[in-house]
Amino acid sequence: MPDLVNLTIDGRAIQAAPGTLLIDAAKHSGIEVPAFCYYEGLTLQAACRMCLVEIEKMPKLMTACTQPVAEGMVVRTETPQVAAARKSMLEFLLANHPLDCPVCDKGGECELQDMTFRYGAGESRFTEMKVHVDEKQWSPVVFFDNPRCILCYRCVRICNEGMGVGALGVINRGVVSEIAPNMGDHLECDECGMCIDICPVGALTSGIYRYHTRPWEMQHVGTICTHCSNGCKTTLGVRNDEIIRGNNRDRSGINGEFLCIKGRYAFDFYNHPERLTAPRMRVNGKLEETSWSQALAAVAAKFNEVRGSGGKFGVIGSNHTSNEENYYLAKFARKVLGTGNIDHHRTGDVHGLLDALSGRTGKLATTEDLYQKKAVLVIGADLALEQPFLSFQMRANYRHHQAHVYVVTDGPVREDNYAAASVRGTADAVEALRDRLKAEPELVIVFGDAVKGDGVRRLVDFGESLGIPVGYICLVDYANSRGAVDMGLLPDAGGLALPEMLAADDLDVLWVVGANPGKPQGSPFTVVQEMFLTETAQAADVVFPAASAYEKNGTVTNVCGEVQRLRKAVGAMGTKSDLEIMGLLAREMGVAAELGPWVPDTVFAEIRKTVRGYDIPLPVLEMGGAAQTAALNGRVPLDGRPELIRSAHDNLFTSGTLGRYSKVLNSVVESHGNR
């Protein structure tokens, strides 16, 4: 640790690491220096001139966003001179800014509004004609109202630096300078909407949210995105039991400001018109709506009958349901139904990795490690499209810490743009990088579904032979793919795996919870818990309408094994959470006592006690944080069946079956191929 620098800000003695920017040093000691263009983690602009402060011995006001701290520096951030300068900046800004706050989406959470209020710059001396340009729509999700733009360049930088996309630029000069999209009149990009949330004013607005409500009329519920496995926190804006928007403006959660199109917009499957709102039962060959009590009674009777007769069950769990639900289902299957035929759509060889790492601790890398560690090796994955937050972390690591990124893929990927080395080939091509990797002080290895079974063991052997600390991330597809493995949604020794269950002609019951594996080839009594009438549900005998992740409480585990809380944002009429459906079914069957209460917190308490690695600190979760599960120690007894592992390689605009029901994902041009 280098010696700290001593300085004084507003009379307070402060210490900061050398090189710290004054604006950050002030912030860390509780002094807010206002700024529009400054944004932590992005390049410096010094364009908005709002952060001007007085520094002793300097002839004029200095920008706190570009001034590093210096020993003995004496700074004043709120003198009359400073306040006057800021007020004048606001007056300049408001000269051409339309005063349409009453109809602007940003009203109420606008940084310009806040600053104008703070510095009393509400009156304008501007009586000339304002520069006006008409509003433009750049994509289904991005609208741009140029007159409101204050040219802070945050959008340009987040797109270029943060996302590595570079779809936004600045055209023209002077007072008519304007932010412009890459395709002239529209955007072709990741459609992540980062530019909208980072906009301090109402220049960039969301096609989904605009003109729907005011920020203060919503409740803001921080939960975890239910699409990919990265586990980004998304804050859902809810009004009248309706989700109006998703964002992460408060930068809480593991993902900070990051969200992709799915996290920000693709919550919209939840009120799709085809959403199931009542149980259905097959009557005379047709699925017809019925009551919960009738449906539950019918399923319970069938389950008890098959159980009593020693019949054969098959149970398929989900990649999207909560840990509690997965745990409860696994327990239900093994303890009540007495079956080891239990599985889910496996998308990465997590099990193989845990097995290969047995006997070692601290080998699982976190999302934070991707930002902090000096080197990252990516094998067989197009991270920017398939694991966007992991990709974002690595790019930030490269920009901020000059991390070395190595890529081994069969085709070009976005990481090539800044990679220390890119190798085209299969996983075994890592050998070519051995000497360079050995020279790194530490490494995180990220691998996709191309590495499984023995491949994982070989990769771990490779990693451990480098002689440096190595952490691993096994990529999986969906929000709780990792949790499904951890909760034991895997076949027992001798049990049937997913494709075998579908192919079996002797199953008496097939129970599918939150998955769409397809129609079974035999004719088991099929029970499906689903949000939509999927192909699997259409073939079912009973369908229970299930709640989505945004309609329930619980926990999920992301790709790195980090556990986070789902929080219920809305209720969907007629649906119940999968946990409640299973609980009610157990009660109806008379076996509820064996399974315990179907209350998420109670189930989670049991998970913490019984699932290895899940004895995680509760306060972290309660504060909305992510708690990493510990790596398992000791051989994993299950048969992993790695040959069954297959990632769907969903990109930014697909999300398995769920993606079909998102209006936004299907509306952007990028989702129509040619990417």
């Binding site: 300068a85 300049f92 040219l151």
Partner: protein
Amino acid sequence: MLYNEPHPLETRVLSRRFGKPDSASLATYLADDGYKAFEKAAAMKPEQIIEEMKISNLRGRGGAGFPTGMKWSFVPRTSPKPKYIVVNADESEPGTCKDRLLMENDPHQLIEGALIAGLAVDAHAGYIYIRGEYRYLIEITDKAIAEAYAAGYLGKNIRGTGFDFDLYTHTGAGAYECGEESALLESLEGKRGIPRIRPPFPAVVGAFQCPTVLNNVETYCAVPAIIRDGGAAFAALGVPKAGGTKLTCLTGHVNRPGVYELKLGFPVKTMIEEVGGGILGGRKLKAFIPGGSSCPVLTASEVEGLTMDYDSMAKAKSMLGSGGVVIMHEDTCMVKAALRIMRFYAHESCGWCIPCREGTTWIRKLLQRFHDGMGQRSDIALIGDLAKNMLGRTFCPLGDAAALPTISIVEKFYHEFEDHLNGKPCPFEAAPELVEA
């Protein structure tokens, strides 16, 4: 060839070959001690070259007046990175037309200056950034560069000294802001001419992120004379702390407009009366801009005892600037002058920072309305107030360049603004503009 008749009061050092037959040719240059300074410098230690530059008291001729020797000494000579020489030939400060003459009449002097700078900081490549409008100068310079290569004054192992140096021209495409050194570097790298955050300064992180010496054309053109005749001789031509001569562009209402090379410290009155041949039409002097439109405007009374050098101008609360002298006689409308100056800065503001982008356009609109006879009394104070709100708070000096003349005109010619009030037409508009010469 573009040059005016020399005046006896001139001291021709940089312009000594102006008007000679075929003055731009290598032959003419060589016949007049050309490239002797380079050969002398090649035998000197780099520290000695820089020391000689410091002794010469040469200050940057682009407008800011930073001591050149000191600037060169900031370059980390031993850095493993390549070092570059960049020539700022983006002459676009209104009132300034001297670099054009230096390049048109004597391109080899510039090349030699750049070469010596290369020796001093161990740079082996240079770029001459020439404003797009000066296309014919690119042709002249390219021709001179080709001549120099052919004669072994550029390229590998120049004249057997073991020193390699490549020199290229690079065209701008119309942007005043690219005359600001860091914006110029951005433009040289193929980007919008937005200035960079400093520090780091170009001497450390300049062209292509490498250490760079960046000076104005006239600055480089002074280098051969300094090395050839010694820094002390150059320093002796000027005043303490500012050595040598300055190419001064007399423009506006004088009888003999032109570019004259005058010793630093030359009396302004003599310059106007003698060198410039007096005020057009025998009228009285009203206002005087010493060095391009970004300098605060001086009144006739302030010109008394004033000399053309940095300290004297600073004492008068103006600047020596680029040498673009603008002379305005008694029938000049100062509101119109302020408007035209602000129109320029509003047009040229790069738009990067708020106060300059919004301030210049706001004041331009205000002055236009005011000059059109739709002003109010409160507007006068507002113009000055807005300019003061820009001053010292913008990202680069363009904001100050716009604010300073405006503030000075509002303060010193307040009564002319009053005369425009309440729908009255411009009191000067009726006076016929004299177009002579």
